[in-house]
């Protein structure tokens, strides 16, 4: 509460609690407000429908002037997600802006699931399947979705 980052995070948390977007929920850990865990649901009417993916968000003291580090904790098969769960997203890198809050970040990631960018692949296999063999890509995605239920 003494720093601007903590004050900002508290306000973001209150706002997220009062007015949560659809398919998004998140909360900081009990002992550390700079470490959050969030859950996003797959968008409806898409191949990701029904999936539940767990993510971790690590904020720095420079927040909101510095972007947080976001990772998928659940297993993921997506052209823009690395094997370790890191996310290749412009607003989290060079296009970051301090007006983005946690709700905005999670909503962006949710939309990224349906609109991957194969030109900057983080997972070459999934990117190749996404371009060449859509059937197999969809099959793999379904497999991941089913696995996400148990996790």
């Amino acid at each position: 509460m003494s720093t601007a980052a903590r004050r900002r995070l508290m306000r973001d948390f209150k706002r997220l609690q009062s007015d949560p977007p659809a398919g998004i929920s998140g909360a900081p850990l009990e002992n550390n407000i700079l470490m959050w865990q969030a859950v996003i649901f797959g968008p409806d009417d898409s191949i990701w429908e029904g999936a539940t993916f767990k993510l971790s968000l690590q904020f720095s003291e420079e927040y909101p002037n510095d972007a947080p580090t976001v990772k998928f904790l659940s297993k993921m098969f997506h052209p823009n997600v690395y094997a370790d769960g890191s996310i290749c997203l412009d607003i989290l890198q060079n296009q970051w802006s301090p007006i983005y809050d946690i709700a905005a970040i999670l909503t962006s990631i949710q939309s990224l699931l349906c609109d991957p960018n194969p030109n900057s692949p983080a997972n070459s296999e999934s990117a190749r399947l996404f371009r060449e063999n859509k059937r197999e890509y969809n099959r793999k995605v379904k497999e991941i979705v089913e696995q996400s239920w148990s996790s």
Partner: protein, 512 residues
Amino acid sequence: MYKYNLQNYFTLLYLFENPPEQFNGEDQDENDNDEIQQSQSNLPPIPTPSTSTYTSTTTITTTTTTPTPTTPITTNINDKESVSISNINVNDDSSSPNKRKLGEIGNSTPSQPPSKKVSTPKSNESNKSVNYSGASPSNEGYSPSPSPSSKYIKTPISNSSSLSNTPLSNSSNNNNNNNNNNNNNNNNNNNNNNNNNNNNNNNNNNNNNNNNNNDNNDNDKSKEISEDDKFTLKKQQSFNVNFTQSLNDEVLSYTSSDYYRDNIDNPTETYTSSDNLNYENFDEELIFSAPNNKDIIHIIDTDNKSSSSSSLSSLPSSSSQTNQPKNKSSSTTTKTTPSSTKTRTTSPTVTKTNQISPNSINKFNSSNNNNNNNAITPSKKKRIDYDLISGTRVKTPKKSAIVSKQPKGFLSTPKKNTTTVDDDGGDDDETATSKNNEDLNKNTNKDSDKNEKDFCPICQSEFVNPYYSPCNHTCCFECWNQWLSLKLECPVCRERCRIKQCKPLTNLDSQQ
């Protein structure tokens, strides 16, 4: 035969010795009158050869008659009487010519006893004389009688020899020494007989040999037969072997035919199975009608083909199965497309809501402008700036990735507002829309206005020493300072911006 050979031998000897016999005969005539008489007696029978033939027949008859009277008498007595009878016959020869001939023989016999009575050595001579008496018939051979007569003579010679033999035996019976000699002779005879017997034995042996030969022949024949049998057996064996082989061959052929049938049956079974699998394969029946192995092979090939066809039939089924998920996937794609359309429909609504609120704000600002216009013109300019700033305040809470575009549009709207201020008709239009919005969303507008006024977009809290950028976005000075030290761009619209270009909002504060 041997006997005849011997007699012939003697006859030949005497024939060759005719002259010395004639001389001897003369000597004999000189020496022995009896002999001469005998020869004289011999002369009369020569002119009558026919009578001689009769004599021979009569002699036979006599010999036959003599045994008949002897039968009623005992053996020994018979022999003696026979001897006496022979003597009597000799005596009776003078009475009849036939008897005379027999008496001649008898005469010879009485001459012998006187010689015997003389001395024993003379008896040996008498034996020799006996031999000569045997030779006398050869003298008869000297006669110029024809050869047939000689032949006729020969036959009596044999008879005489037999008769002489019997008297010799009689003489032996009479005298012991003679008997001994006779025995010797008999022995000789016996020897001869033995020889004869030997001959006979030889003959018998020969016969035996013949028999042996016959036996041998039989043996040979039997051997031959056995050999023939062997050959036949061999032939039979060969025949049997051939037969068995042929049978085996037939059996093999039969088995092969069975195998052939089995081969035929197997394809039929497979064919039936194929029928079970494929009821519409009629061509295979036509192929099966042919009995050739090649056709059978074709049947097998067809079976393979049928199996392949079955596999093909299975493949299409699998393809159909795969087609079903394709259909599902297509259905999913069809489902996805409506979702995309839905999302598209939803996004315009969002944009509409965003557009409505700025309009209401603009109208509110326009009403404020009207009030200010009534009071002071320079105050109008300031108010305009304030209105723009308030407009910026209104923008900040709803900003997001999408807001980056909308602010630009919003910036264009203030310019339009200025133009509308010049035009009274435009003001009327704005007021109309503002009324509608106010009627629908009074409370919401008020709340949003409050929020917008109070909060900084970076620190999400009330403004502390606010400054505005050339792009008219307001933030706390400290917030500006921290962000612009990292990146020289507005956090809201990403336009290039420097901290020096930012100006404080002191006027606004004073106004407040």
